[in-house]
C-alpha cells in the first residue's frame, strides 16, 4: 500500500483551501537525473472502499477520485470532482484527483460508449452517472456507520467526509467505515441530493489543477521522463501522404549527441541525447521522398471540387413541411458560405513517450482518447491490449487534435527500432504540417421571407466527414450527424425546411474534429444568412431573430439578455458595428454580440464582446465564464486569420509566424453572463469557438455593409481605401 501511495502521489493533486493560500502536496525536487515514476492504473484497489470506478477511500480516509475524462484546460477535473464530492459529501479540500487509465468499459463516455473527451460532453454525459456514483458511495458509508452504531441509516447524515448520528452526537470518518462499507452491496438507484441542497455545485470554485500549473510542477505528456530514455523527433513527407524513398543520414549521424536515425516507410526519426541534438540531426538529414499523387494537389483544386460537389443533391438530414412550397412564398434569397481548413496548433506539440519490453509497452502521453491510444499502441507494438499501459497526463491543449492517436502509433513504431525508452516530440512545424485538419466546408442556403419571417429554408452542407473516418459506426446512410449538428436543430420557428448533407472527401487532406466541430460551420452560415435576411426584411437583426424564437425560449432569453448587456441599438461611430449570433449548440443556449471597428485599410479591431449563456445547472460558473472567454478568442482567431492552404500537396503554414494567433493586445473585454437555470447541464467547452465568428462577421456587415461569405476575413473586401 505505502509504495502504491507514493506512486499515486506523483501525479495526484492535493486539493487545498478555496481561498488563495494553496499548499503543495509534495515538494518538487530539481532533478539532476530526471525520472517520473510510472503510474500504475488503479486496476485493483485492494484494501480500499471502491464502490465504482470513480471513487476510492482508504482506511485513513484519503479519498481519491479517478477522472474518466481528460483535463485539457476546460476545468473538467474540478467539475467532475465537484459532482462526485457533492453527492459523496466528501471533504472537497482533501480529495485527491487521479488521471483515469484507459478503459471503455469503466470510463466510456455514456453518449459514445467509448472513452473520449470531446464534443463538450463531459459534464452533460457523465452528470447522472457521477451523481449516482457519489450517492451510492455515500449511501454505503452511511449504512456502514449506522450498522456499527446499530441505528437507522435514515437518522444519520453525511458531510465533509464524515457520517454523523446527530441524536447520539456520534460521528465516524469515511476512513473509519471504509472497510465495512466495502462489504456492503452497491445500491443501484441511490437517493440523489435535491439540487437545493447542493453545497459545491453552482458556486464558483477554485480549480484543483491550477496551482501546480502556476509554478511549473504539472507534468504534461511532453514532460514525461523515464530512466535511461532518449529523445527523438521526426519528419514526415512534406507532401501529405508521401513516403520515404531514401534517407541519407551520414551527416546527421556524425553530429554530437545524435544516437540513431530510424527510417520507416512514412517518416524518418532522429534519436539523440536531448531534443536539440535530435533536431539538429533532423536538419542534417537528406531525405528524398516518394511524393505520390498528392504532389499535384493545390487549394484551388480542392475548392473547385468542393464547389462542384455542393451542386449535387445531398442526403436529407431533416425535413419539415414542404420546403419547395415554402420557398415559393414571399421573396426568396440564396447564399453560399465557405470555411477553410484549420490546424489545431495546440500549445503543447504532439508527443509520446514509449518504453517497450519484450512483453509489454508503456505509454506516457496526453490523450483525449485513452483507450484508443492503448489500442493504437498495441497494434503498433504487436502486443495484446492488456500488455499496454497508458499513463495519461494533463494536456497542453486538445481542441480535438488529441482525439487522434497517430502520434502514439508512430512513437511506438520508432521505439521498436530503438533499444532505449524514447520520448518522441514533434517540432511545431511537423505538428502544424501533419495535423488532421478541420474540414473545409461549403454551405448553400435558400430562404424565403414573408412578413418579416422565414417561411422556407433549404440548407445544404458539403464537406468531408470526420465521423465516417473517426467513428464509422456512427456514420449511417451517408449522413454525418456532426456535420449537420446545429443545422438540423436550428432554433428558429420555420414551417418549411430541409437540411441536406453531401459528403465530399477532399484530396490529400485528412480531416479531424476541431473545437466547435460541426456547429462551427453551421452556426456561422445560418447566423450570417440571418443577418442578410434581416437586412432584406428591413429589420433589426435582434428583433428579426426574436420574432422566430418562441419555440426555443431559453435561447430567446439569452438573446434578450445579451442585447441589453451589450447596449444593442445604442449609437456607434462610423465603421463600427455590432453583430449578433445565437446558437442552441451542445445543449447550451448562447447569444453573443461582438462590437468591432473596420479601419480604412480593412483591418479589424475588436472592441468588445458580450455573451449570455444558459447552460442549465452551471457546475462551476467561473469555469463556464472562462471557457466562453477562451472559446470566443479561439473562434475569433480563426475568423480573423485561420486558414490552412495546400500547394503541391504541402501545407503552407508551419508555425506561429504564418499561422497567426490573436494576442493579448488585440483581445477586447469579454463579458460573459451566466443565466441561472435548473435544467440538465449542457456542454460548454466548444461553444465559444462557435459563437465568435458569426458575431464578428455580422459586426463587420453592420460596420461596412459588406456581407462576407467566407472565412478568414478578407481585408481587401472591407477596406474603404484600396491599397
Amino acid at each position: 500500500m505505502s509504495s502504491k501511495h507514493a506512486i499515486f502521489s506523483r501525479r495526484s493533486v492535493l486539493q487545498s483551501g478555496l481561498a488563495g493560500g494553496l499548499v503543495l502536496a509534495f515538494p518538487w525536487p530539481l532533478r539532476a537525473a530526471p525520472v517520473n515514476e510510472p503510474e500504475q492504473p488503479p486496476d485493483h484497489p485492494d484494501g480500499q472502499f471502491a464502490p465504482n470506478a470513480f471513487i476510492r477511500i482508504d482506511n485513513s480516509g484519503k479519498t481519491t477520485l479517478v477522472m474518466p475524462q481528460a483535463e485539457m484546460g476546460q476545468g473538467v477535473y474540478t467539475a467532475i470532482a465537484m459532482i462526485l464530492a457533492e453527492e459523496l459529501d466528501a471533504d472537497f479540500a482533501q480529495v485527491m484527483i487521479e488521471h483515469g487509465p484507459p478503459s471503455d468499459k469503466l470510463y466510456g463516455n455514456p453518449l459514445f460508449g467509448v472513452q473520449v473527451t470531446g464534443n463538450s460532453n463531459s459534464i452533460r454525459a457523465f452528470w447522472d452517472k457521477l451523481r449516482n456514483a457519489g450517492a451510492a458511495a455515500r449511501t454505503m458509508l452511511i449504512a456502514a456507520a449506522a450498522a456499527q452504531w446499530q441505528v437507522d441509516a435514515a437518522s444519520c447524515t453525511a458531510a465533509n467526509g464524515k457520517v454523523t448520528h446527530a441524536s447520539s452526537n456520534r460521528s465516524l470518518t469515511y476512513g473509519e467505515v471504509a472497510d465495512a462499507a466495502a462489504k456492503l452491496p452497491v445500491p443501484e438507484k441511490p437517493k440523489l441530493k435535491d439540487p437545493r441542497d447542493f453545497t459545491l455545485i453552482g458556486k464558483p470554485l477554485k480549480r484543483s489543477d491550477t496551482p501546480n500549473k502556476s509554478d511549473g510542477k504539472t507534468i504534461y505528456g511532453i514532460d514525461a521522463m523515464v530512466p535511461d530514455m532518449k529523445f527523438a523527433t521526426l519528419v514526415q513527407c512534406p507532401v501529405l501522404g508521401g513516403k520515404v524513398k531514401h534517407a541519407d543520414d551520414s551527416a546527421a549521424k556524425n553530429l554530437p549527441g545524435v544516437r540513431q536515425v530510424v527510417v520507416l516507410d512514412d517518416l524518418v526519426a532522429v534519436v539523440g541525447d536531448h531534443m536539440w541534438a535530435a533536431w539538429q540531426g533532423l536538419n542534417a538529414l537528406k531525405v528524398t521522398w516518394d511524393e505520390g499523387q498528392n504532389a499535384k494537389i493545390n487549394s484551388a483544386d480542392i475548392w473547385n471540387e468542393l464547389r462542384a460537389a455542393s451542386q449535387k443533391d445531398g442526403v436529407v438530414a431533416k425535413s419539415e413541411g414542404d420546403v419547395n412550397k415554402g420557398l415559393a412564398q414571399g421573396e426568396s434569397f440564396d447564399a453560399a458560405y465557405e470555411l477553410p481548413f484549420l490546424a489545431h496548433a495546440t500549445m503543447e506539440p504532439m508527443n509520446c513517450t514509449v518504453r517497450l519490453s519484450p512483453d509489454g509497452c508503456e505509454i506516457w502521453t496526453g490523450s483525449q482518447v485513452q483507450s484508443r491510444a492503448q489500442q493504437y499502441a498495441a497494434k503498433a507494438a504487436g502486443l495484446p491490449i492488456d500488455k499496454v499501459k497508458v499513463y495519461n497526463h494533463y494536456i497542453g491543449g486538445g481542441f480535438g487534435r488529441r482525439l487522434e492517436a497517430d502520434m502514439v502509433a508512430s512513437a511506438v513504431r520508432i521505439a521498436k527500432e530503438v533499444s532505449a525508452p524514447i520520448k518522441v516530440v514533434w517540432t511545431r512545424e511537423e505538428d502544424m504540417q501533419h495535423d488532421v485538419y478541420r474540414p473545409a466546408y461549403r454551405d448553400t442556403i435558400s430562404a424565403s421571407l414573408s412578413n418579416g419571417k422565414i417561411v422556407g429554408w433549404k440548407y445544404k452542407v458539403t464537406g468531408s466527414s470526420v465521423l465516417a473516418r473517426w467513428f464509422p459506426v456512427a456514420f449511417k446512410n451517408g449522413l454525418d450527424g456532426d456535420a449537420v449538428d446545429s443545422a438540423v436543430d436550428m432554433p428558429y420557428d420555420i414551417p418549411n425546411k430541409r437540411v441536406e448533407y453531401v459528403r465530399a472527401e477532399t484530396p490529400a487532406v485528412t480531416t479531424g474534429f476541431w473545437r466547435g466541430v460541426g456547429p462551427n460551420n453551421n452556426v456561422f452560415a445560418i447566423e450570417s444568412f440571418m443577418d442578410e435576411l434581416a437586412r432584406k426584411a428591413n429589420m433589426d437583426p435582434v428583433a428579426f431573430r426574436l420574432g422566430m424564437l418562441d419555440g426555443t425560449p431559453r435561447l430567446k432569453a439569452a438573446l434578450k439578455l445579451v442585447a441589453e448587456k451589450s447596449g444593442w441599438g445604442s449609437p456607434l461611430p462610423p465603421r463600427v458595428g455590432r453583430g449578433v449570433s445565437v446558437q442552441p449548440s451542445f445543449g447550451s443556449f448562447i447569444a453573443t454580440v461582438v462590437e468591432a471597428e473596420v479601419d480604412d485599410m480593412g483591418e479589424v479591431h475588436l472592441r468588445r464582446v458580450t455573451c449570455a449563456v444558459d447552460t442549465g445547472i452551471a457546475v462551476n460558473p467561473d469555469t463556464i465564464m472562462a471557457q466562453l472567454q477562451g472559446g470566443l478568442i479561439f473562434g475569433l482567431t480563426a475568423a480573423l486569420w485561420g486558414e490552412v492552404t495546400i500547394e503541391k500537396g504541402r501545407v503552407q503554414q508551419s508555425n506561429f509566424n504564418n499561422y497567426r494567433m490573436l494576442r493579448i493586445d488585440e483581445t477586447p473585454p469579454i463579458d460573459v453572463h451566466v443565466i441561472k437555470s435548473g435544467e440538465h447541464p449542457g456542454g460548454i467547452g466548444e461553444t465559444g469557438a462557435t459563437a465568435g465568428p458569426p458575431a464578428l462577421r455580422n459586426a463587420i456587415y453592420a460596420a461596412t455593409g459588406v456581407p462576407l461569405r467566407r472565412l478568414p476575413i478578407d481585408r481587401s473586401a472591407i477596406a474603404s481605401k484600396k491599397a
Partner: protein, 450 residues
C-alpha cells in the same frame, strides 16, 4: 540648300551642334568606363602576368580535377542562386524575376539533353557565359550576368561546365518569359551586347599586388558584385562612375560598398568585412539578408579564407562614392517601449511587440544573439525601409552552419501592418522613420525573384 537663308543655315548648325552634344552627353552617360577602369590601365594579358595566378581556384585545389575545381568556381560565381527555385532541384532553373514589363525565368542548366544544356559543346558554353549567346543563336537578357562572367578564363568557365555536367540531369522544361513588346524581341540584345559587353578576359593590373588581382577576379569575373551594387543607367548598363555605390535590385537594396566612410563601408574594419562575407554577420553592422544572405550562404561562406581576404583587399580599393542614403547610424533605442522614436505609431508598435520584440528587444540590441541585433544596421537606417519591409515579408533563411534564421511574416501580416512595422522600426532604431504605405509594400512584394 542653295535657297537657304543664312539665318536658317545658322539655325541648322546650332541644332546640329546641340544634337551632337546631346548625343555625346548621352553616350558619355550610357557608355561609361568598365568595371576595372578605376584602377588605371597598367594591365597586361593574363599570359604576360608573372605574379601568382589571380584566376582559377585556391592553391590547395589547383591540382584537383576539373569537376572539383568547377564546383568551387560555380559556387564563387553563385550560379545556383538564380538557377534554382526555392525547394527546387539544384540548377534546374525556373526562378522568376518579375520586371515592370513582364517576367523572366531562369533556365535549366543541368546536363539534361532535352531541357537543360546537355547538348552544349565547350564553345556553346563559352558563348553563353562570356558573350550572352544561346546555343540556338538567340541572345540572352542581361539578367544573366554575362557582362561580368565575360572576364572569366576559358579554363574556369569550362571547369564550371564540367562540374554542372557531373551533377544529375534534371528534366524540367524551361518556362516561357512573359515580356511585353518590344522587350520580348531578343534580337535587340545584339545591340545591347555590342554596346555593353566588353567580351574580354580578365587582365591583371601590374600596378596592384597579387592579392588585389585575385580579389578583382573574384569580385568582377565570378561574384559579379556590381550587378547588384552598382547603379544602372538608362540603358540598363552598369554606371561604373558610381561603381558599388548602391542600387535597388529585385526589390532589395544593395548597399553602398565603396570606401565612403559615411555611406559606404569605409568605416568598417577588415575583420568586419571578412566576417560579413564569411558568416553573413559583423558585430554591430547587421546581418546579410535577402539576396546578400543567399550570396553568403551559397557563395562567400564556401570560399577559401584567402579568397575572402583578397576580396576585402579589392573592396578597400574601390573609390569612395557618397550615396544619397543618410550617413547617420542611430544608437540603440531606449529599453522602455514608451520612450524613443515612433512611440505614437500604434499599429507598428503592436506588430513589433507581437512578432519582433522577443528576438530584437525594444533596444534593437538582441539579448539572444548578436545576429539578431538590428541597431546599427544599414537596413533600419535606410529611410526607404526597403530591406526592413522585405525581411519582414520573407524572413532570412540562413543555411550557413550556426546561423540563425528569421521567420517570414509576409503571409499573415497585411501590407498595412508590414508598412506600419517597417515605419516603426526605422523610426525607433534608425536615423529617420520611413513612410511606407500599404501600396509600397504590395509593390515590394511584386519585385522579388521567386
Amino acid at each position: 540648300m542653295r535657297h537657304m537663308s543664312p539665318a536658317r543655315r545658322v539655325a541648322i548648325i546650332v541644332v546640329a551642334a546641340v544634337a551632337i552634344v546631346a548625343i555625346g552627353v548621352a553616350a558619355w552617360l550610357v557608355f561609361g568606363p568598365g568595371p576595372l577602369a578605376f584602377a588605371g590601365n597598367s594591365t597586361v594579358a593574363l599570359a604576360d602576368y608573372h605574379e601568382a595566378n589571380p584566376t582559377g581556384v585556391p592553391a590547395d585545389l589547383a591540382k584537383a580535377d576539373a569537376i572539383r575545381r568547377g564546383e568551387y568556381l560555380a559556387k564563387a560565381a553563385d550560379c545556383m542562386v538564380c538557377h534554382t527555385t526555392p525547394g527546387g532541384e539544384a540548377y534546374a532553373g525556373g526562378l522568376a524575376f518579375p520586371l515592370p514589363f513582364g517576367t523572366l525565368y531562369s533556365t535549366n542548366i543541368t546536363s539534361d539533353k532535352e531541357t537543360g544544356i546537355g547538348n552544349y559543346t565547350d564553345q556553346d558554353f563559352l558563348n553563353a557565359v562570356q558573350r550572352g549567346i544561346r546555343k540556338d543563336g538567340a541572345r540572352l537578357y542581361p539578367a544573366m550576368t554575362y557582362t561580368s562572367y565575360t572576364f572569366m578564363t576559358d579554363a574556369d568557365a569550362l571547369a564550371i561546365k564540367a562540374y554542372l555536367f557531373s551533377l544529375p540531369a534534371v528534366h524540367r522544361p524551361n518556362q516561357d518569359d512573359t515580356l511585353l513588346f518590344p522587350f520580348n524581341q531578343r534580337w535587340g540584345m545584339i545591340f545591347w551586347s555590342w554596346a555593353f559587353n566588353p567580351n574580354t578576359r580578365f587582365a591583371p593590373n601590374t600596378a596592384k599586388c597579387a592579392e588585389w588581382n585575385r580579389g578583382a577576379y573574384i569580385a568582377e569575373a565570378l561574384a559579379h558584385c556590381g550587378d547588384c551594387h552598382t547603379p544602372r543607367n538608362l540603358a540598363f548598363a552598369l554606371d561604373n562612375r558610381r561603381k558599388f555605390s548602391g542600387a535597388v535590385a529585385a526589390g532589395w537594396r544593395a548597399y553602398n560598398i565603396t570606401a565612403d566612410k559615411a555611406t559606404g563601408i569605409g568605416a568598417w574594419s577588415d575583420d568586419e568585412i571578412f566576417a560579413y562575407l564569411a558568416k553573413g554577420h559583423a558585430m554591430g553592422r547587421g546581418t546579410a539578408s535577402g539576396p546578400m544572405g543567399e550570396a553568403v550562404d551559397r557563395s562567400f561562406s564556401q570560399m577559401a579564407p584567402a579568397d575572402i581576404r583578397a576580396l576585402v583587399t579589392y573592396l578597400r580599393s574601390i573609390p569612395a562614392v557618397a550615396s544619397s542614403e543618410p550617413a547617420t547610424i542611430a544608437a540603440p533605442a531606449p529599453t522602455s517601449p514608451k520612450e524613443g522614436g515612433a512611440v505614437a505609431d500604434a499599429l507598428g508598435r503592436r506588430v513589433f511587440a507581437q512578432a519582433c520584440a522577443s528576438c530584437h528587444s525594444w533596444t534593437g540590441v538582441s539579448a539572444l544573439s548578436p545576429v539578431a541585433t538590428i541597431s546599427g544596421s544599414r537596413a533600419v537606417n535606410d529611410p526607404t525601409a526597403t530591406n526592413v519591409a522585405q525581411i519582414v515579408i520573407s524572413g532570412t533563411q540562413r543555411f550557413s552552419p550556426g546561423a540563425m534564421s528569421m521567420p517570414a511574416f509576409g503571409s499573415t501580416y497585411t501590407d498595412s501592418e508590414i508598412a506600419a512595422v517597417a515605419n516603426y522600426v526605422t523610426g525607433r532604431f534608425g536615423s529617420a522613420a520611413s513612410k511606407l504605405t500599404a501600396k509600397d509594400v504590395a509593390d515590394l512584394r511584386g519585385q522579388t525573384a521567386r
